[in-house]
Symmetry: C2
Subunit: 437 residues, 2 copies
């Protein structure tokens, strides 16, 4: 008998690899934070002995969801300003609030609330871009959550850094601090081509290359941004980045709501990743990323929530459902982004984008045990004709029951184990009062 | 002191009328199934004495949601066939399954599952179109749920009726049976202009007029339907119906995903109601109803889920969120369908559409006490900057805690009071086995 730490007995497993598979009556053995076996129950039980055994009747286990674009701390601005034109929203509400309030405490408290919400929604890893990334990283690490945090870079001074040199300095320290951490990874995260000058973009890209890190950037979020670039430089932003040598497999291009034929070709040819944030793009009236076409061209896709100020939740199950429906509606093809493909971009696609697919994103022996269980034993999932369809189209994130990250059981029957929930919520309420003043 | 049956003390009330109002610290008195008072807590308590008093800390009360277009019994086909082109989906999957299985038992069991799901999602009234409507009406009435059921009419024979005469006969009986019922109302529900011939459409409209009933019909769901009509008759369906005198305030035009300028003018000028089913339209790649433009023209709007086979849930809170985001995304205007307007179309808009707004749809003294409470005391609604925004953009239907219909407490802490949940779910599982055979 092989000794393992835990054995889980769900009714179904959606391993994501091989694609489209639904395993019935399979169990999962976990040891030292990794998946030790996925086999039919009897076979697995006959060869493994576990210290802890958990029955999960009516539940499906799948890889933890990956939120591939977020500004975690902005959770404190959820519902702070809605239904406004993008520039009014930013210039009259979000930026002044950030200018007045964003500091280490804001980022600590906002990130903690985000981690709480994401764990309850089955998200086991997020890819963040915000000020004070070292604080967000510390909050995630303390919660036992996986995160990739970006060295933020923007041309103007903020409460976080006095100017480009300060951003780079802090960024270098961030990379050094979290190098080789089991849970935390880093990226270079220049905000956008319109807020970061070309020399700084190039320097960020060089740093990314030197550290073997991704380049995480908002690109083509709005038509206005594209028009302004054309007016100023004669080129659309993506082509400008391409000319600078920045479009390649290390690029995480977030939003991409407006893409011409040549741009789609370049993304596909270079292996750049596209992070699709369907709900934020709809809510801010930015446009719709043509993911059905991008998927057909073999572009790597992942899903992000964006910040809670523009969404207003950090719910990748919800984004997956919206992405699957919107891909069909926008392409006028009801076969676009079927359920299994939607599940893949919400998990393995995210892992590939952030360069962590050797470790997470699918349930394969040897990968980290980042797992989520969903309860399909509810009227909302009745009758259970199709496990994958029910997860994508019928369930909400309230179906999430348990979450494991690197084998650690961090959400038990919807209760977070590693977080002080009352304290996090109390601090959120204090920030509400401060922000409303 | 005025004796009343119940007093509820939520933290907030969204009365919908007056528009945009959020009441803080108000209480609601209920008597004989109606709203007896909505006043600041102290004022209300000083004048009313109740047999039952309920504290609802952290909760908001709003009018029950109205699902203005559904095929309730199709819940049994949830996840039965997805990600397929519309005609393959219908012709190779849904219609054969219906032909083989739809009967009184199917409609009884499917409607019961739908009522269970809808009550748990805060829906207090639904407007149905399906075979065996008398059975759906009986299930709703028995559950204490409000429903408007349609006399279905389609040119071909089905397990329900052998032909047009039989549909009309059964429809007349339906109207007679439920005339003057406190919970159940009826419509004439010819399926669509392409499945019902003109003489039958006219006859259905005459019947609707004679009984003072709505005419509930799928119109302009797809481009294909419009093209076929133009090819066959030289006219687009809506204009054909208009020429027949069918476009008016009694018309509930469902879907309306493709509308030219003249059609928008006619809908606005005639007072026809548009039932928007955003998620089904996306999922089946039918198109997007231009509700931002229709709202600007003053057209009465309501929300529907459509059947669970094409959605795949009966979740009006979710449709409201999708509608609010999609209106912005499709019109490229982030101010389109703001939160309060989204709340209105999900409640009062639905009531107006089905002609029951004298009775339901807003929290006004004298109206029926159809109420839903949502729990905003959750991390997902933190920090509570804006009650309406949080309900529309941040919450899912799992926030629904309690539901009252005509003053009767039908959902208590998410537990249905009037339904035998295990029996309903067991029958759904039996239908899954039958359908999968």
């Amino acid at each position: 008998m092989i000794p393992v730490e835990q054995i889980l007995h769900p009714d179904w497993v959606l391993p994501i690899e091989p694609a489209g598979e639904v395993l019935t009556g399979h169990s999962i053995a976990i040891d030292q934070g990794r998946i030790a076996a996925i086999e039919p129950r009897q076979a697995l039980e006959s060869r493994h002995q576990a210290a802890a055994v958990k029955e999960l009747p009516g539940q499906v286990i799948m890889p933890g969801l990956i939120n591939a674009h977020t500004h975690a701390a902005m959770t404190l601005l959820r519902g702070y300003a809605d239904d406004l034109p993008l520039m009014t929203w930013l210039e009259s509400h979000i930026w002044p609030a950030e200018q007045a309030h964003v500091g280490e405490a804001f980022v600590r408290d906002g990130s903690a609330l985000a981690v709480l919400e994401m764990l309850r929604g089955g998200i086991t890893c997020f890819n963040d871009m915000y000020f004070f990334p070292e604080t967000t990283a510390a909050v995630a690490a303390e919660a036992g959550m996986r995160a990739t945090v970006g060295m933020i870079l923007i041309d103007f001074p903020t409460p976080y850094a006095s100017g480009p040199e300060a951003y780079f300095e802090k960024g270098e320290a961030l990379h050094a601090q979290w190098a080789n951490d089991p849970l935390i990874d880093t990226t270079m995260a220049p905000h956008a081509p319109y807020t970061v000058s070309e020399p700084h973009l190039v320097r960020a890209a060089e740093l990314a290359e030197r550290h073997g890190r991704r380049l995480h950037m908002h690109i083509h979020e709005t038509l206005g941004e594209i028009d302004a670039s054309v007016e100023k430089t004669g080129s659309r932003p993506l082509m400008r980045l391409d000319a600078l040598g920045l479009v390649g497999p290390q690029l995480l291009a977030v939003h991409m709501t407006h893409l011409d034929e040549r741009e789609r070709d370049r993304i596909s040819a270079t292996g750049a990743h596209v992070i699709h944030c369907p709900e934020a793009n709809l809510k801010l009236a930015s446009g719709i990323c043509p993911i059905a076409d991008l998927a057909a061209r073999g572009v790597g896709l992942a899903l992000g929530t964006d910040g809670a100020a523009s969404n207003n939740n950090l719910d990748i199950l919800g984004e997956m459902r919206t992405a699957a429906m919107l891909a069909k509606g926008a392409s006028l093809d009801a076969t676009a982004l079927p359920a299994h493909q939607a599940l893949e971009i919400a998990t393995l696609g995210g892992a590939r984008a952030i360069g962590r697919d050797q470790e997470i994103g699918s349930l394969v022996v040897g990968k980290a045990a980042d797992l989520v269980s969903l309860d399909l034993n509810t009227p909302e999932a009745d009758p259970l004709h199709d496990v994958a369809s029910q997860v994508v189209y019928a369930c909400g994130r309230e179906a999430v029951r348990d979450v494991w990250i690197a084998g650690r059981h961090v959400l038990k029957a919807r209760e977070p184990v590693t977080l002080d929930v009352p304290a996090i919520r109390a601090r959120a309420a204090e920030w509400r009062d401060k922000l409303q003043r």
